[in-house]
Point group: C2
Chain length 342, copies 2
């Protein structure tokens, strides 16, 4: 034993394989670079030249994709996890009226298959190009004994910018404003631990077509997280976006509450949009009570924008013109700060 | 089964416990806020007011702490993982001559013990205060089946800023410059998978005092990652910092090579500093060859600054005056781009 010559591979870590996968993705990553990116890959930190702002506020967020990654990995669809993690961050930035500028990613597993690293980067870089943001940094870690064999985690930080006087942080929300709901593409990245528990108890595979779902779970559950950058920034440019919420963990109520000022109460009428069948199927299969359902899933609403009542219809039109189905789903009324979903 | 009412807890996720731990850490987190932080906790993204820069370049990095976290968790020292992850990012930013401004953290495990979340945040916020940076965002995820029972991951993104004409990216390094090595506090966060493999094969616990180490492994291995912000930014302010490298995974050669221009070769003389005993002990116990040793561990040098020869002695003094032991460890010579450690 004493004479055995150890190397890093003996610790279950294949550095060369991952370096190879990252190397192969170089051109994809460079393909996301906007003119503000300085330097190239391989620096200790990503460089972004912030030009031409009067009074810039940096708007930054970090997120993961949760246990949806387990289903995506099982299905060989890790590019969706890459899309999800960037879209999530883009939305967190855009709800404040800010333009996302760049992203950094973190990928870790017990051992990383180079093809999986490539799929993740394919998804991330595709969204970055669509959103006009640069992937300027990342870390890829192999951590045996931290991750399970099937486990893999992916997180990303997204940084954006907004002029200070154009920040839409909800402070200007007031009684009489209306709530615009923007359609989600499904669960996005929330509620998957509960969904997987339901699937396990019901014996559902990804190919199951439970209840009146009308399509296999694979198709419905694994849809990528939608980006709301375009509709939200179009509303922000219109100058009447009072605030917006990204509906993630905690559901509509918990997330909308984050932007409400004191003495403003949001009342949402759930008959004002068509709740996708998936949520009914899950509620029934898991015998979920309404409160659990509402605080776990987005119920078909992936983001909510708050605008003056007289701009409500026009705001819906602007969202639709920018690729997002949207509806007026409720009002801001005077009352105890909070959100009521009727 | 159909009548059993499922909740998120059935999926092995205790949202309330983690929310409680984060809530309790609120004041600690607010304690890191610098005057540029706008708003408060609970927004969709952290807000940082970037004031008074002529021509700002944002300098951003994301990092984890690797499998050191397993030893730290076992030892009940997770506050060190919090310190490590912030210090790592601070150094990645500071080697470019940039001042770190703020950080965002990501913490995930199968299940999170609120006391462990508290310890991580205690370490992160302590370094943030020492470094004058704000912890403006974070995500805490419970992911059963992704993480092992003993597994836990912590990553952080650090964003800094530098005036474009003060960026120290290595482009100005030239023949005749000298290399200043800054003392590490031990392994920092690199090589732990290999170290743990050696420990397992040798039957060493954290209380072992192998070879001529002179102290228990616990003390030597678990030392926090050192921050080089002060010495590096002091050199940057002096205007003669040509470039700097953070010595992490890949060791001295691979990291220093990242900043060398074409036709510049770095030659390091390893007799010019005292390599801490730990590295000899590990080399012997794992029967590591010299190449593996050098590309896995920092060998006592946590960062390297490149300065003009005539500023070498003064640079060493500046580093020491800013809390970092330092030595001239080599030269930049003409030759094929690369690093030679003799």
């Amino acid at each position: 034993m004493a004479s055995e010559r150890l190397t890093y591979k003996d610790a279950g870590v294949d550095r060369e394989a991952v370096a190879g996968a990252l190397g192969a993705a170089r051109d994809r990553i460079r393909g996301t670079y906007t003119p503000q990116v300085l330097g190239d890959l391989g620096q200790f930190a990503g460089l972004f030249h912030l030009r031409s702002y009067r009074d810039p506020v940096l708007v930054s967020t970090i997120d993961g994709v949760g246990t949806k990654v387990l289903l995506l990995r099982e299905a060989g669809r890790l590019e969706v996890a890459g899309r999800d993690v960037i879209a999530h961050g883009v939305n967190d930035v855009a709800v404040l009226g800010a333009a996302p500028l760049f992203a950094l990613d973190y990928v870790a597993a017990a051992q990383l298959d180079p093809r999986e690293v490539a799929a993740l980067l394919e998804g991330m870089t595709a969204v970055c190009r669509e959103e006009g943001i640069a992937l300027i940094g990342g870390e890829t870690a192999q951590m045996p004994e931290v991750y399970t064999t099937q486990g893999l985690d992916v997180a990303a930080c997204v940084v954006g910018v907004v002029e200070r006087d154009e920040l839409a942080d909800g402070a200007k929300i007031k009684t009489g404003n209306v709530l615009i709901g923007l359609a989600s593409s499904g669960l996005h990245t929330n509620g998957f631990s509960l969904v997987r528990e339901i699937m396990a108890r019901r014996g559902w595979t990804l190919d199951a077509v439970p209840g009146d779902l009308g399509a296999p779970l694979r198709e419905v559950l694994l849809a990528p997280h939608r980006s709301y950058r375009k509709p939200l920034l179009a509303l922000a440019r219109s100058q009447w976006l009072r605030g917006a919420a990204h509906v993630t963990g905690g559901g509509i109520a918990e997330n909308l509450a984050r932007i409400l000022p004191q003495s403003c109460r949001a009342v949402i009428d759930s008959r004002l949009w068509a709740i996708p069948r998936l949520f009914g199927v899950l509620a029934q299969a898991g015998n979920l009570d309404r409160a659990e359902l509402l605080r776990t899933f987005n119920m078909g609403v992936g983001a909510i924008a708050v605008v003056p009542r007289e701009r409500g219809r026009l705001s819906v039109d602007i969202c639709r013109a920018n690729g997002a189905e949207a509806w007026i789903i409720g009002d801001v009324v005077a009352g105890e700060r909070g959100v009521e979903v009727r």
